[in-house]
Amino acid sequence: MERFRDGAQDAFEDLFARHAGRVQGFLARMVRDGALAEDLLQATFLSVIRSRGRYEPGTRFTPWLMTIAANAARDALRHQRHVDAYASSEDGTPALGLGPDASDPSLRRHLLDALHQLPADHREAVVLSKVEGWSFEEIGALRGISAGAARLRAHRGYEKLRELLGGLEVAR
């Protein structure tokens, strides 16, 4: 990243090749909708290009990148909530489109459905702590809350996930 920040444009492709899969996985868990996840992946890497002057040399690149992805997802989810609220107030029924898809029986699909039923803050805390391996201090710093509050979000989200997926079993 430091090479890219200092003007080596070819370094961007190395960064993309190394990190895009991880960001895509994070966004797929956060927003579920494939087209939206692609838009957010694009917004994330465009932000890396446009704001490379904000990267501090000597700091870890991955948390900086994932912070950008988390901010993009948060913004999109906030916008989505407004759209959903408007749609449901227009026709009197809850908005559809991101709900569970019962036709797909795979565990992964159930997990994504369950993740999407969590409040966005809880989902973010679960994914960052359990999948990305962030500490609660890092999650707290990202959202301007205490480490204890971040731990509580992750714990509540995880327990809710357990509850939602409690009936599922895996074949052996």
Binding site: G34, L46, R50, R54, A72, R108, L165
Partner: protein, 221 residues
């Protein structure tokens, strides 16, 4: 045989990669790179905002001194307050644009509150009746903040919107008018609250509202 599912394993299982989506995103990123936009370092942007807010206030003071609108003894008497305002402006500008530094933003808010209290409490009873209506001070305060406001808005577009970040940028912008008010206005503390602090609050609120309403150009911290 069936067993309860391992939630941790399921969570950490990598989802399928969408290579077509990745290729499209890489192409869009290469298009952005081809524009060859200059790299904007956050320290440079912060320095510009410090210069546009505190620097502009100091420049106004120098011009007023040069044309005789303010006397040397008055400038010296107000020097501690002017330094406090310039310091507040610099801390707020730096805090608004630093990638981390939540503590600096909180310090900026604290300094702005202390400065606001100081400019009110430092005013005594005026010896002369006002020659201009009070709103002239409000309008002057807002007008001198126009240039730093634009600088702050441009700089904030390279970062993800955060209300506190935008608010401290607004406090930095508003301190320029407060500094000018210390030199050009001799009314009492009530006038300062009603016309100068109000303008400072308005300019801060305007910056937060405009910054929030602009389409984000970047989600970087």
């Amino acid at each position: 045989m069936k067993q309860p599912m391992d939630l941790d394993r399921l969570l950490t299982e990598a989802p399928a990669r969408d290579n077509a989506a990745m290729a499209r995103v890489l192409a869009a990123a290469q298009g952005e790179l081809a524009l060859k936009r200059p790299v904007r370092r956050w320290r440079t942007q912060a320095a510009w905002l410090v210069a546009a807010s505190g620097g502009l206030g100091l420049l106004a003071a120098a011009v007023m001194f040069a044309v005789g609108a303010v006397s040397g003894p008055l400038l010296l008497a107000r020097a501690p307050l002017l330094l406090l305002l310039v310091g507040t402006s610099a801390v707020c500008a730096w805090g608004a644009l630093t990638p981390g530094g939540a503590w600096l933003r909180r310090l900026g808010v604290g300094l702005a509150l202390a400065s606001a209290a100081a400019v009110v409490l430092a005013r005594g009873t005026p010896h002369t009746a006002p020659t201009l209506p009070g709103w002239v001070c409000t309008v002057s305060h807002l007008a001198i903040g126009a240039v730093p406001l634009v600088v702050a808005l441009v700089a904030l577009r390279s970062t993800f919107f955060q209300p506190l970040r935008a608010a401290v940028a607004g406090l930095s912008v508003g301190s320029t008018g407060a500094l000018l008010g210390e030199l050009a206005c001799e009314q009492d503390g009530r006038h300062v609250v009603a016309h100068h602090l109000l303008a400072w609050a308005v300019i801060t609120a305007v910056l937060v509202v405009i910054s929030k309403s602009l389409k984000p150009r970047s989600y970087a911290p």
